[in-house]
């Protein structure tokens, strides 16, 4: 990498700046819920067959990185005219590979990768804007990342993590233990919560996330992600089975203020998170260090999908001295707003219900039909059955009314429709909702309080000199207090008046 930097580049998640930067993560919004994370690259020549350098191909068009670099975040980017056809033929690929790739290219956004050697030719083709197609480029946030990250495990989504971080008091400067790291959505959200600057040295204590992952492949992927996102100084990732290995870092305590356990068996990890050596620990005599902050109450949240896990976790928590145990489950609903268009005057269109929108309209229509029927029936006709005749008449009348209605509606319509203000504004839930993610168990472990601590505090704040009562007091005392206050207010008012008079005199 070029360019010397004295301090670590701040993660784009934390301080994205105003513009997109090379080698930084950006989230492309292709359509409403279709997000694509990419690392923007400077064009240094032909790249992967593209004359414009690295290019993102989507069904919304092709977007050379060069068009997305050094623009304000949130910019709408126009698609470019990129030659995707001839490039594909130049590359050597197996027939099987090709088939699957072509298919993928058609439907899926595809990012070019860096495995081919970019020719160091200076001539980079200037991107030419296409007639149609656009995307937006957004700065990464944990919310966008959660929606777009590569899934390795079940993801902890925003409704859950926002509530969890609020309740476990994750704040700038806190230290959080997280096990397992999984796909990293909670990691990103929690590092934002505890961030209060990068530590300048090893001794410098800043907000930090200690993350644990036992699955080796996931660990490596996560490690790389953290480096790519410039979060190395803020997240300490360890590859470990915490049931057996505990939470110490090189034998030292991370001094955690808050804990999040997304593990199948939280109760097996809980004994490690004690203030004192737990009884379950087999080895005797050995020095035991607590991974918790000795000076503060520690908040915990465990994340389990099954109720059986919850009962065991809660039971273990009670035995280990956790208090304020509280279990909740979060139900989140997204709502869409739409214009509900019902009425006979609408033309048949998607999302339009061409039926009467109220009784009056229905009545009007029915009357019209009825009139036509009568008209038709009145017409002389020979040799046919009366009942049948009425039926056909009714049918014909209906058709005619429809035709007529269509005609009138087209005639009355303004030349340009305004579907955005027509109809009634309504809200609707998503077609599919998440009814259960997991149960969240919250608890607090107060700091230890020994006899000596108590004696010291008692010596510092001795009792017996109480002057007033705060809180609920009985009626008599309250009345007495109020009387005294009123007296005092009276005194003060008198004094103030006196003072005001004096000042007035002085001014004169």
């Amino acid at each position: 990498m070029t360019g010397t930097m004295t301090r670590p580049t701040v993660s784009p998640f934390l301080e994205p700046g105003l513009h997109t930067k090379p080698r930084s993560l950006a989230i492309l919004q292709l359509s409403r819920d279709n997000l694509l994370p990419i690392y923007l690259q400077e064009a240094s020549g032909e790249h992967d067959g593209y004359a414009e350098g690295a290019v993102v191909n989507t069904r919304y068009g092709s977007f050379p990185h060069s068009t997305m670099l050094n623009v304000p975040w949130g910019s709408q980017i126009r698609a470019s005219k990129v030659d995707t056809g001839s490039r594909g033929r130049k590359r050597k690929r197996g027939p099987k590979d090709e088939a699957s790739r072509d298919d993928a290219e058609e439907n899926q956004p595809e990012t070019t990768d860096n495995n081919t050697n970019a020719t160091e030719a200076t001539g980079v083709k200037q991107a030419v804007a296409d007639d149609s197609g656009f995307i937006h480029v957004l700065p990464p946030t944990p919310e966008l990342w959660t929606q777009s990250l590569p899934h390795r495990t079940q993801v902890v989504y925003t409704p859950d993590y926002s509530y969890i971080l609020h309740r476990i008091r994750a704040r700038p400067g806190s230290t959080i233990i997280e096990a397992g790291a999984g796909s990293g959505s909670f990691t990103h959200a929690s590092v934002r919560a505890v961030y209060n600057g990068y530590p300048s040295s090893a001794e410098d204590r800043k907000g930090k996330v200690f993350s644990f992952e036992y699955h080796e492949e996931r660990y490596h992927k996560m490690k790389k992600e953290l480096t790519d996102h410039n979060l190395d100084g803020l997240v300490h990732l360890t590859h470990r089975d915490v049931y057996n290995g505990g939470f110490l870092i090189d034998g030292k305590s991370p001094e955690a203020d808050a804990i999040f356990l997304d593990l199948p068996k939280p109760w097996e990890a809980l004994p490690h998170l004690s203030r004192r050596k737990p009884q379950t620990e087999a080895k005797e005599g050995e020095e035991w260090t607590s991974p918790l902050n000795p000076k503060r109450a520690v908040h915990i949240c465990t994340f389990s999908p099954c109720i059986e896990q919850v009962t065991r976790t809660v039971s273990a928590m009670r035995r280990l001295g956790w208090v304020d145990i509280d279990m909740v489950e979060i139900a989140n609903r997204k709502l869409h707003t739409i214009r509900d268009r019902v009425g006979l005057h609408y033309q048949t269109d998607r999302g339009v219900n061409v039926s009467p929108h109220d009784v009056e309209e229905a009545l009007e229509r029915l009357t019209e039909i009825e009139e036509r029927v009568r008209e038709q029936a009145a017409r002389p006709r020979g040799g046919e059955d009366g009942a049948e005749d009425a039926d056909t008449a009714m049918k014909n009348g209906d058709d005619a009314a429809k035709k007529d209605g269509d005609k009138t509606s087209t005639a009355e319509q303004p030349p340009y429709q305004t579907p955005w203000v027509d109809g009634r504004l309504i809200t609707k839930g998503e077609p599919e909702i998440k009814t259960h993610t997991s149960y969240l168990v919250f608890a607090v472990l107060p700091r230890e309080w020994t006899e000596e601590d108590e004696a010291a505090a008692f010596a510092k704040y001795p009792c017996g000199k109480e002057k007033a009562v705060v809180g609920s007091i009985d009626k008599q005392t309250r009345k007495k207090e109020r009387r005294e206050q009123l007296q005092k207010i009276g005194d003060r008012k008198a004094r103030r008046k006196e003072r005001a008079e004096k000042i007035a005199e002085a001014v004169e």
Binding site: Q29, S132, A331, T427, P462, R482, Q485
Partner: protein
């Protein structure tokens, strides 16, 4: 800052067995009364850790006060442990492996013993409650007597009540434990001390005080607003250099605005009395004063000073309460005029040269800018975190340098605002020295206010905010009309509303149909306007807002369902708070491309698969 121990004069929440929370200020050398749960000296909880459960003990003969005892968790959970142990001892239970199944069958048996017919179980237990007094052999007078000279923190009363219940043996184990719990809640003299942080405070305000004052904002919604607003620590403090303006210099000496230094700033519209600002300040690390060990001693010195003033403070507070005819039972609503902190006239004089009048006290980063509709912002709840926005001379508090407040008038028509447009006073040093101290003080105060207002207004109007967060009673469309141009590209918007309708109307302003029409060039009103003019679009009947300025707009709501977790009795709580659900609207500020722009291709209606692709690495 992280609530290690209970500090003198801090606000705390006392959780009582009945579930009631009392919020009080712990003033040294006072007594705290919990009504029927007893009275104890405040000094007994000072410097003690939070979250411990204390028991008010009986007065010892040699003491004039009740001592406290820390209740260990083993005692708090004694009943549950006994139940669990009984289950484990039950030979029918497997070797401790799958307890849950055992509990279920055990429970079933018990109910069938009560009554074979289904549904009668509930009827029976209700009846029991009704009959309770009849079955309780102790008379009310006897209970009262027990309570009066009851000992052992109320446990004796509970035990006697249980023992003298005639039908105790007829109760199922479930109804027995229910009965015991009911009596325990009523008589046990215990309490727990919680720190006043945003979650505790808002919960108390919501459940026990006036929920409408905080627009019914629940913890779930508070979390969502904070996350979708991307509110977080906005970088190390950066201060503008003191222009060293002399008293003779006027406006020309103001420190010029340096737009490139501005970063990590959030725009807020808060009608929750300051709770939203507090929540944001908590997320940005500017709500709590540092009280780590290094600063502990300094804090102590200050404490002594405050202790002296304690009397004066209480007196003041009580005064205001009488005047406003409030319930004097709890002194828990500090109104702005009673703020105890405002009265710290003596500031520790340090040797640093004084800042000149035009020195900008605000950091350029990590700030909250509050836009308010009245002439003064209503941020009275910040008093619980010892910050008073109205105090002219404030003891050190992180919010002082990080909270900017300006009215909509100051933002939109600053020339009409007196404090912004009146040029600063000037005077030569000789004249100044002849003045009385009070007049001189006024002179400096006015100059300082001028510099402050100038900076707040000018920096806000410079825009490029990192996000917008709202919980307001005002129409969100009107807020966005003026706030959207102030946001940096890609900045998130998170708007909370207790009801759905205003947000639905807002979201409709950004509907696909509106955006398409806007981009298509069919809207006559916008023809020939520059991108800048469109960014400050004033709104028309059909287009109240420029629909291309927000991206990915969406409305959502969350609700936490609480559960009871007990052996064999795990289920969701039967009732919870109703009322306003609360919704949030989210989106990102977009920078639309100039000129006509069309989407690619003819869109056919078909299900779009979620595509998951790995980002290519750099």
């Amino acid at each position: 800052m992280h609530h290690s121990v209970i500090k003198p004069n801090s606000w705390v929440a006392l959780k009582l067995p009945s579930g009631v929370t009392r919020v009080i200020q712990v003033t040294p050398n006072t007594s705290i009364s919990l009504g029927k749960y007893g009275t104890f000296p405040a000094n007994l909880i000072l410097e003690r850790p939070y979250y411990l459960t204390f028991e008010v003990q009986d007065k010892l003969p040699e003491d004039s006060f009740s001592r406290l005892r820390v209740v260990p968790p083993s005692e708090l959970y004694a009943d549950v442990f006994a139940e669990e142990d009984a289950e484990c001892a039950n030979p029918a239970a497997g070797p401790g492996s799958n307890n849950d199944a055992v509990i279920a069958t055990a429970a079933g048996e018990e109910f069938s013993l009560v009554d074979a017919e289904s549904g009668n179980v509930i009827a029976r237990s209700t009846q029991e409650v009704i009959d309770e007094n009849a079955r309780q052999k102790l008379t009310q007078a006897e209970i009262e007597e027990l309570k009066r000279d009851g000992t052992n923190a109320g446990k004796d009363v509970i035990a006697k009540l249980l023992l003298s219940h005639a039908a105790l043996d007829q109760k199922t184990s479930f109804s027995l434990s229910k009965y015991k719990l009911l009596k325990t809640k009523k008589y046990i003299r215990r309490f727990q001390v919680l720190p006043i942080d945003v979650p505790t405070f808002s919960n108390w305000q919501l459940e026990e005080r006036d929920a409408s004052k905080i627009l019914d904002i629940r913890a779930e919604m508070m979390g969502l607003v904070g996350c979708w607003g991307n509110v977080h620590y906005g970088g190390e403090d950066v201060f503008l250099e003191d222009p060293k303006a002399t008293t003779e210099q006027g406006e020309e000496a103001l420190a010029p605005l340096q737009e490139d230094l501005l970063a990590g700033r959030w725009l807020v519209v808060d009608d929750t009395g300051g709770l939203l600002v507090a929540a944001m300040a908590e997320r940005m690390g500017v709500l709590y004063k540092e009280d780590d060990d290094e600063t502990e001693e300094a804090a102590e010195e200050e404490d002594e000073e405050t202790t002296e003033k304690a009397d004066e403070e209480t007196e003041q507070k009580l005064e205001s309460e009488t005047t406003s005819q409030k319930d004097t039972e709890m002194a828990d609503e500090p109104t702005s005029e009673t703020t105890t902190l405002a009265r710290h006239p003596k500031r520790p004089r340090d040797n640093k040269p004084r800042d000149s009048d035009f020195a900008v006290p605000f950091s350029q980063t990590n700030t909250i800018t509050v836009l308010h509709g009245a002439s003064q912002p209503n941020l009275s709840f910040l008093n619980y975190w010892n910050f008073d926005v109205t105090a002219p001379q404030h003891p050190p508090h992180p919010l002082l340098n990080h909270l900017l407040t300006l009215s909509w008038l100051q933002l939109l028509k600053p020339e009409l605002d007196t404090s912004y447009s009146t040029p600063p006073l000037t005077a030569d040093p000789e004249t100044l020295s002849t003045w009385k101290p009070s007049r001189r003080g006024n002179f400096h105060r006015k100059r300082r206010r001028y510099a402050r207002v100038r900076h707040m207004v000018d920096s806000t109007r410079a825009g490029n905010f990192s996000g917008l967060v709202c919980a307001s009673t005002m129409d969100p469309i009107s807020i966005l009309k003026h706030a959207l141009p102030l946001l940096a590209g890609g900045a998130p918007v998170a708007i909370y509303s207790p009801s759905l309708e205003p947000l639905a109307i807002l979201a409709d302003c950004f509907s696909v149909a509106r955006r398409t029409a806007w981009n298509s060039g069919h809207v006559a009103e916008i023809q020939g306007k520059t991108a800048e003019e469109l960014e400050k679009w004033e709104g028309s009947e059909q287009f109240p807002l420029n629909p291309t300025l927000l991206l990915g707009t969406s409305i959502q709501t969350s609700r936490a369902r609480r559960w009871q977790v007990l052996p064999g009795r795990t289920h969701p709580l039967m009732t919870e708070r109703g009322g306003a659900d609360g919704f949030i609207f989210t989106g990102w500020r977009a920078k639309p491309a100039e000129g006509k722009i069309a989407a690619k291709g003819k869109f056919k209606r078909r299900k779009v698969e979620e595509t998951v692709s790995t980002p290519a690495s750099a």
